[in-house]
C-alpha cells in the first residue's frame, strides 16, 4: 500500500491504496463518495465520470497514482447544494428514471458546457454520446443540457 494525497472537491485528503487502484474505487471505497458510479470498468459507459482540472474523465481507468496533480471534482462537489445550473436543469426537466447513470451524465455535461457554453443540438448529442443511459432517458438529457446552457449564459 502506498499513500497518496488527493485534492477532492476542494479538500486535500490522504488515502492508502495500491498504485494501480482506479480513482473510482478510491472515491467509493476509501472516501465514501459513492455518487460516482461503477458501470463497466473499461471506460465505455461514462457512469464513473469525474472532473480532473475541470475535464471530464473516466475514473474507472485512472490509476490513483496518476491523480495527485489534479483538482478532482465529483458529483458531490459539483455544487454545495445541488444548484449548479446542470443540476437545476436536470431537476426542471425531471430527467432521471432509475437515476444510476445521471451523476456521470451531469459531470460530462458540466465539463462540456464549460468548454462550449453555447452548443447547438448536434454538439450536445456529440458531447453526450459517450454516456450510456440504460433507461434511455436520452431525450431529456438532451433537453436538460440545452436548458443548462441557457441558464449559464
Amino acid at each position: 500500500m502506498n499513500s497518496y494525497v488527493l485534492k477532492v472537491n476542494g479538500k486535500s485528503v490522504t488515502v492508502n491504496a495500491e498504485e494501480d487502484t482506479p480513482l473510482l474505487w478510491v472515491l467509493r471505497d476509501e472516501l465514501k463518495l459513492v455518487g460516482t458510479k461503477f458501470g463497466c470498468g473499461i471506460a465505455q459507459c461514462g457512469a464513473c465520470t469525474v472532473h480532473l482540472d475541470g475535464i471530464a474523465s473516466r475514473s474507472c481507468v485512472l490509476p490513483v497514482s496518476n491523480c495527485e496533480d489534479f483538482e478532482i471534482t465529483t458529483i458531490e462537489g459539483l455544487s454545495n447544494d445541488g444548484t449548479h445550473p446542470v443540476q437545476e436543469a436536470w431537476k426542471t426537466i425531471d430527467v432521471p428514471q432509475c437515476g444510476y447513470c445521471q451523476a456521470g451524465q451531469m459531470m460530462t455535461a458540466s465539463s462540456f458546457l464549460k468548454q462550449n457554453p453555447n452548443p447547438n443540438a448536434e454538439e450536445i448529442r456529440e458531447a453526450m454520446h459517450g454516456n450510456i443511459c440504460r433507461c434511455a432517458s436520452y431525450n431529456r438529457i438532451e433537453k436538460a443540457v440545452a436548458l443548462a446552457a441557457k441558464k449559464m449564459s
Partner: protein, 714 residues
C-alpha cells in the same frame, strides 16, 4: 362509473393509531390481504410491513409522510402512488414527503407486484385510503364544532364548516386517530383532481442530482468485505479444481471461499476483490454438450417444423381455411438472447450471524428471495431481515434473487459481513437472459381478407404465459391458432422488459404490415378493419379493447401526420396491447447515405387516467428507445456455452446520437390507470422495421437490424 365502486372490506384494510410523538398513523394494504387483528404501531420506527404494506403519517402540523416499502426500479411508482393518496386526502403536494418504509422488520414477507402492475392494483386502495383519512379528519373537526360532518368540507389540508370556521388537519389529527374508521367514503370525480394529472417531479430527484447513497452498490457496513465471484465461464460447466495461491497474495485479499461450482474472493476493497478473482486459477469440466448459437438455431427450427405443438388458443377451423385459401403467406421471425444490462451491476449485502441474517440490496422479490435464502442456509424465515435499496434499473433481472442467494451463502461460509459485487463481465455472463425465440406465422388470404392465422412459438426454456395467446389479433380473425414449444437449455433465461411481447409484437406487427402490403391497403387501416370484427366483452380471455385500440390508433394517425409527411420521411406503423395498456406508434426515418436515420417516434397511449404526466412520458420515452435500441443493436450469441460479448466495448447499447425524439400523446379518458413501464417497448421495433421497409424496400425478419443494413448505399 368505474372510479366510484367500493370493493374493500375496510375493517381489514385500514387501521389507525395515535402516534406517541403526536399525529395519526394509518396502516393499509395495497394488495388487500391484511391479517384480522393487526394494528399500526405507535412508533413509526416499528412500522410492520408484514401487517400493512403502506402507511400514512399525518403530523400535528398537518404535514403528511407516506411510507411505502415499494422498491423503485426507475418506473416512478414512488412518486405516482403517493400522488394518488395525496389527491384523495386533499393535501397540497408540497406538504407531502415520501419515505421508504423502515425496512429492517421481522419476517419481511410483503409481496411485490411487477413493474407495470403496481399502479393498476394500487389505484383503488390508494384512493380509498386517502379518502378515508380525509373523512376521519372531517369527522373529528365536526365533533369539535358540534356540527354534522356532512356540512363540512376539506380541501388543501383545511377543514371548513358552514359557518366559515376552519381547522387545519394538524389541529384535529389526534382526535381523528381515535375515531371509528368510516365505512362509505366518497371518492373524487376525476374532473376535480388537482394533483393527479399534474406533473410531479421524481421524489428522489435531489438525492440523485447530488450523488447521495441510494443504490445497493452504495451500501456499506462496519467490517464489510467485498466479494467477487468466479463462476463457470460456460453454461453447463462444473468446477474441477482450483488454485488460489496467487489470489491470496494480492494485497487486501483476506479469504477465498468455494461454494458449489463457484469461488468467492473476499477483500477489503472492490479493486482487490476483482484483482483477486482474476488471479484465481481454475479448471472446469462438463459432462454435457456446451451449447452454441447455431445449436439453438437448429433446435428452435426443429420445433417450428413439428406438426403440432402445445395448443394455446384455437378458434374455428384453421386447416380448412388454409385449404380453401387463395394465397397463403408464411414468415419466420428470429431473435437472439438478450442480457438485461441494468446500469447498476448486480450486487447484494449479506451478514449472516448466529443471531440473524441481515440482507440489503436491490431486489424486486424480497419475499420469495428471503424464503429461498432461509432454505439455502438452513435458517428460520423469522431470522431473515431483508432491506431493499433503490435499483439502478431492473428490466426483469432483479426479479431473480440469484445474487442475493450467493451473497448469503458466502457470508454464511465466511462468517463475515460481505457485499457481493458483479463486474460488468459477471453481470453479462451470469445472466438470466431474455430467451432466444422464433415465431412462424402463417395467414390464409381469400377474396382480399385474412381468413386464418396460425402462429407458432419456439423458445428457449419456456413459452408465452397467461393470456398472451389471446392478444390481438386473437378475436379478430375467426380461424385462429397459437401453438408453442420449447427447448430446455443449460442457459438461464427469464423475464426481460415486456416478457415475450417484446419480440412477439415485432413478429406479428411486421407480419401484418406485410399482409397489408400484399392486400394493397393502408397498414393502419388493416388493423382498424380487423378491430371491427371484435366485440368487447364477448370473450373474457380477450383483455384488449377494440374500442380503446381503435381510438389509440386514430390518435397516432392524427398526431404523426401518417402518410402525410414531408418527402424524404418514411413512416412505419405498429399498434400493440400489453400490460393492460393500448399503444400505437409511428416511426419516422430519413435516409442518410442510403442508411436509415431514426428521426422521430410518435406514440399514442391509452393507459387510463395519467397520474403523473412527466413520469408517464419518461416511461414511454425510455420504453420506445429501449425497444429500438435492442432491435437495432442487441446481438448476444454463445459459443460453447460462453457468451461472445461481456462488456460494452463489443456489446452495443443505443446511445445519444442514435436516439429519435419521442413524442407521446395520451388518449384522454377517466378509466383506471394501467401500467407504463413496459407497454411502450413492444411495438417500437415493428414500427421501425416497417419504416425501414418503406424507405429501403428491405423487410427485416431478424433482430438485430443493424448488421443487415451495412450494405445499404446512397
Amino acid at each position: 362509473m368505474e372510479n366510484k365502486k367500493i370493493a374493500f372490506n375496510r375493517r381489514d384494510f385500514i387501521r389507525t393509531s395515535t402516534l406517541a410523538s403526536g399525529g395519526l398513523l394509518i396502516g393499509f394494504n395495497l394488495f388487500n390481504s391484511c391479517k384480522e387483528a393487526a394494528t399500526p404501531p405507535v412508533d413509526v420506527s416499528k412500522l410492520n410491513f408484514n401487517d400493512f404494506n403502506a402507511f400514512i403519517k399525518i403530523a400535528d402540523n398537518g404535514y403528511v409522510t407516506i411510507f411505502s416499502p415499494n422498491p423503485e426500479i426507475g418506473q416512478g411508482v414512488k412518486t405516482s402512488m403517493p400522488m394518488i393518496i395525496a389527491e384523495e386526502l386533499d393535501v397540497p403536494w408540497e406538504h407531502v414527503t415520501v419515505a421508504q418504509g423502515a425496512l429492517d422488520t421481522k419476517n419481511f414477507t410483503r409481496q411485490v407486484a411487477g413493474g407495470s402492475q403496481s399502479i393498476r392494483f394500487g389505484w383503488d386502495a390508494l384512493r380509498q385510503t386517502g379518502a378515508t383519512a380525509k373523512q376521519m379528519l372531517i369527522n373529528a373537526a365536526a365533533i369539535k364544532w358540534n356540527v354534522d360532518p356532512a356540512t363540512c368540507t376539506a380541501s388543501k389540508g383545511i377543514i371548513k364548516n358552514a359557518n366559515g370556521d376552519t381547522l387545519g388537519y394538524g389541529d384535529v389529527v389526534n382526535e381523528a386517530a381515535s375515531l371509528k374508521v368510516p365505512e362509505n367514503v366518497i371518492l373524487k370525480e376525476p374532473k376535480d383532481y388537482s394533483i393527479i394529472g399534474k406533473d410531479a417531479i421524481n421524489v428522489d430527484i435531489d438525492k440523485i442530482i447530488t450523488g447521495k447513497p441510494l443504490y445497493g452498490l452504495d451500501y456499506t457496513a462496519d467490517n464489510m468485505l467485498i466479494a467477487s465471484v468466479l463462476r463457470p465461464p460456460a453454461f453447463g460447466q462444473k468446477l474441477e479444481n482450483y488454485d488460489a495461491t496467487k489470489a491470496k497474495n494480492i494485497t487486501g485479499v483476506s479469504d477465498v471461499i468455494k461454494f458449489g461450482d463457484k469461488i468467492a474472493v473476499l477483500a477489503s476493497n472492490t479493486w482487490a476483490a476483482m484483482k483477486g478473482k482474476k488471479a484465481l486459477e481454475a479448471k472446469w469440466t462438463s459432462d454435457t454438450e456446451l451449447e452454441s448459437t447455431a445449436f439453438h438455431e437448429e433446435k428452435l427450427n426443429e420445433i417450428l417444423d413439428k406438426k403440432t405443438l402445445d395448443i394455446r388458443r384455437e378458434d374455428g377451423n384453421v386447416d380448412q381455411a388454409f385449404a380453401e385459401a387463395d394465397t397463403v403467406i408464411e414468415r419466420t421471425y428470429d431473435s437472439p438472447f438478450l442480457p438485461h444490462n441494468c446500469m447498476e451491476p448486480m450486487n447484494f449485502y449479506a451478514n449472516v450471524t448466529e443471531e440473524k441474517v441481515h440482507l440489503v440490496g436491490p431486489i424486486q422479490t424480497p419475499a420469495g428471495t428471503a424464503n429461498r435464502i432461509a432454505n439455502l442456509i438452513n435458517r428460520k424465515k423469522e431470522e431473515i431481515h431483508l432491506e431493499m435499496t433503490r435499483m439502478g434499473g431492473g428490466f426483469g433481472r432483479r426479479l431473480y434473487g440469484d445474487f442475493a442467494l450467493e451473497a448469503a451463502e458466502i457470508s454464511d461460509k465466511a462468517k463475515k459481513p460481505i457485499k457481493l459485487v458483479f463486474s460488468r463481465e459477471d453481470d453479462m455472463s451470469a445472466g438470466i437472459y431474455r430467451p432466444a425465440i422464433k415465431y412462424r406465422i402463417k395467414a390464409a388470404i381469400k377474396e382480399g381478407k385474412i381468413t386464418a392465422y396460425h402462429l407458432k412459438e419456439a423458445a428457449i426454456n419456456s413459452n408465452m404465459y397467461g393470456l398472451i395467446p389471446n392478444f390481438f389479433p386473437a378475436g379478430a380473425i375467426s380461424n385462429y391458432k397459437v401453438e408453442t414449444g420449447n427447448y430446455k437449455s443449460a442457459i438461464t433465461t427469464g423475464a426481460w422488459r415486456a416478457p415475450y411481447t417484446n419480440f412477439l409484437a415485432f413478429a406479428e406487427q411486421s407480419f401484418l404490415d406485410e399482409i397489408a402490403e400484399y392486400l394493397e391497403i393502408d397498414p393502419a387501416q388493416l388493423r382498424l378493419d380487423l378491430l371491427k370484427n371484435v366485440k368487447d366483452g364477448e370473450d373474457e380471455r380477450i383483455q384488449y379493447s377494440a374500442k380503446r385500440m381503435t381510438d389509440t390508433i386514430n390518435l397516432v394517425i392524427e398526431k404523426s401526420n401518417w402518410k402525410n409527411t414531408k418527402s424524404g420521411v418514411y413512416q412505419g406503423f405498429a399498434a400493440y396491447y400489453s400490460h393492460n395498456t393500448h399503444v400505437a406508434e409511428v416511426v419516422d426515418i430519413t435516409l442518410k447515405n442510403g442508411k436509415p436515420a431514426i428521426e422521430k417516434v410518435t406514440v399514442a397511449v391509452d393507459c387510463g387516467i395519467v397520474v403523473n404526466p412527466t413520469g408517464a412520458k419518461n416511461q414511454i420515452e425510455g420504453g420506445v428507445i429501449d425497444g429500438i435500441g435492442h432491435a437495432m443493436y442487441g446481438d448476444f450469441s454463445f459459443k460453447n456455452g460462453e457468451p461472445n460479448d461481456v462488456n460494452f466495448h463489443s456489446y452495443r447499447l443505443i446511445r445519444m446520437k442514435e436516439t429519435p425524439i419521442v413524442e407521446t400523446h395520451f388518449v384522454e379518458n377517466e378509466l383506471s390507470p394501467t401500467g407504463l413501464g413496459e407497454p411502450g417497448l413492444p411495438p417500437a421495433s415493428a414500427a421501425l422495421a416497417n419504416a425501414i421497409k418503406a424507405a429501403t424496400n428491405r423487410r427485416l425478419y431478424k433482430q438485430p437490424f443493424n448488421n443487415q443494413l451495412n450494405d445499404l448505399k446512397a
